[in-house]
Symmetry: C2
DNA sequence: TTGTATGCGTTATCAT
DNA sequence: ATGATAACGCATACAA
């Protein structure tokens, strides 16, 4: 008589089928087994509704088929998108995803990194903000948007090019004096290169620009209107094109503009960054530099599942592209 | 990219500390141990950087401290919000969350349900769409927004009240002839009650209304403008208030209205449902019936972690409230 | 090919 | 209080 609550084990199946334990194991793992045995085992499995216990399995195999994903939250649209594609990418390979929301907390980020040593996950994909994050050299870790060290691959968009493309595009659309606004991270991460790329583009085309650099804690809803006010003379903006560090900044900017009776692309052309959508594929926030989120996700998963990577590339930049979204004069 | 040299075990610690295996286990689990022993063990743990192997632990304990969360995707803002709060809620209790994106696929939903039998998770919280989903009676399962059976708790907002409140509110704001639009699910789920509540509210106040009931696959971006066109005479809408089944529908509606040169709340007042925000706490999509997402998440987690399931309430409706968001004349 | 026995890292139950 | 040892469920090397 089996214990009441616990699920049937291989032993139970073996007993039921009248075969040895090893035979059951072989059937489960698809090894060659005599046909009459196989049938007996399979019917016993069905009868008992047997399922392998992945903990016993993991104990032997030292692998969990689970990857931890570290992300501040899932409410930010870009993070949500990233989470989605990474989840899908892992699923396609029959891997599970442990979602770890860090809420930008440094200690939480660090704590999750140690999970891998507790054999709870096979590896970690992380978009982290802890500047002092310590990742052991033999901890399988793939970083998004931030370089953590030579032994840790970092996957990112080609942010520099993105910024430059934005400047070029605005120029080709007739803009001559621009503005740039973003939330600057004190951290040195890849997205910060958007600014450099933009500046480079402006330089090439001989354009000048105003900058609004916001801090992490600043309220965009207040700072952006203030900035606009400073640059409005007789109801007219001092610049004819704006590059926003992210689409969310562009979104807030658009709302702020409407309160001044201004709108894009009529009064000013706007290009954002990220390529997020609100609801459907067609629901653009603004004209924007689209990050290849799906490719980024795929690349992260590829690398984290790579068993032996003799040469780990430190930084991979994936190509971005411009996409019109109603805030430019196309 | 897997670990090469396997992690130290309790055995290694015992050897290093010169004590027995059981003693190490007792130190780890906080049982009473003689002080000199404890110190020897603790320094050995530190020296070897020992971490318990949760798989061996899980093998004995038959629990994983992990809950699976089934959700179609994380890109829909409401799903993203739900995911976020459930993740936080589980984290607070030191539980891990396995994120399972089902993409509305019935077989995927069903497959994940069996995970619990493979001892891979302790329980499941699911927002599912498979009408034939089979959930074993002794599978710890908490459903969101859809009743699956008497033994499975369903957590939801009070959707009926929400619909009624919307009608009442529009009436008190001066509306007399309304419209209702939603994506109707063929499934019988809780959100469908929003319509019944709305109708009830209209009846009480003697209001008439037009309905736009969309199918799952319909493109809102086309159907909504068509509906508006049918009800516009000389640039004026046939109704003065609209209740949308979700905020996302309201969002698309707002965009469609602007293309007709109409806007809310001037030309028509709009109330949505969900209470999603775009970026910050202040960034409303529309006036709306706010779902208590945080409470829903908390309640789900409470129930799934409830060991003794003697009293399982079949359906719990949590109170919603109205919140102005710029598309009503407050 | 099939059966048997051992070990994975922990916890729990024994003696000591 | 501490040490030895037997499970837990599975995979596998080895014996038959």
């Amino acid at each position: 008589m089996r214990k009441k609550n616990s699920a049937p084990t291989m032993k139970d199946v073996a007993l039921e089928a009248g075969v040895a334990l090893g035979t059951v194991s072989r059937v489960i793992n698809g090894c060659s087994v005599g046909e009459p045995y196989r049938q007996k085992v399979e019917s016993a499995i069905k009868k008992l509704n047997y399922q392998v216990n992945s903990y016993a399995q993991g104990l032997k195999a030292e692998r969990t088929n689970t990857i931890a994903f570290l992300i501040p939250n899932t409410t930010n649209p870009y993070f949500a998108l990233l989470t989605h594609y990474i989840a899908v990418s892992l699923q396609r390979r029959s891997y599970r995803m442990l979602l770890c929301c860090t809420d930008f907390k440094r200690d939480l980020e660090q704590e999750y990194v140690s999970m891998v040593h507790r054999n709870q996950v096979d590896g970690i994909i992380g978009l982290t903000y802890n500047p002092d994050l310590v990742v052991d050299a033999n901890t399988p870790f793939v970083s998004i948007d931030r370089c953590l060290g030579p032994s840790i691959p970092c996957i990112s968009s080609d942010n520099f090019s993105g910024g430059q493309i934005a400047a070029e595009k605005l120029y080709s659309l007739g803009c001559r004096h621009l503005a740039f606004m973003r939330i600057s991270s004190s951290l040195t991460n890849e997205p910060n290169k958007r600014k450099a790329g933009f500046e480079n583009g402006c330089m090439i085309y001989g354009m000048t620009y105003e900058s609004l650099l916001l801090e992490d804690g600043d309220e965009l809803e207040k700072e952006i209107p203030r900035f606009l006010e400073e640059h409005i003379t007789d109801g007219k903006l001092a610049f004819d094109g704006i590059f926003c560090g992210t689409d969310t900044v562009a979104y807030i900017l658009l709302k702020a503009l409407s309160r001044f009776g201004l709108s894009a692309p009529e009064d000013v052309q706007i290009i954002g960054f990220d390529g997020i959508r609100y609801l459907s594929e067609y629901d653009h926030v603004c004209s924007t530099i689209v990050q290849p989120v799906e490719d980024i996700a795929e690349m992260c998963v590829e690398f984290i599942l790579q068993e032996s990577m003799s040469t780990k590339p430190p930084l991979i930049c994936l190509p971005v592209h411009y996409e019109a979204g109603g805030t430019t004069k196309e």
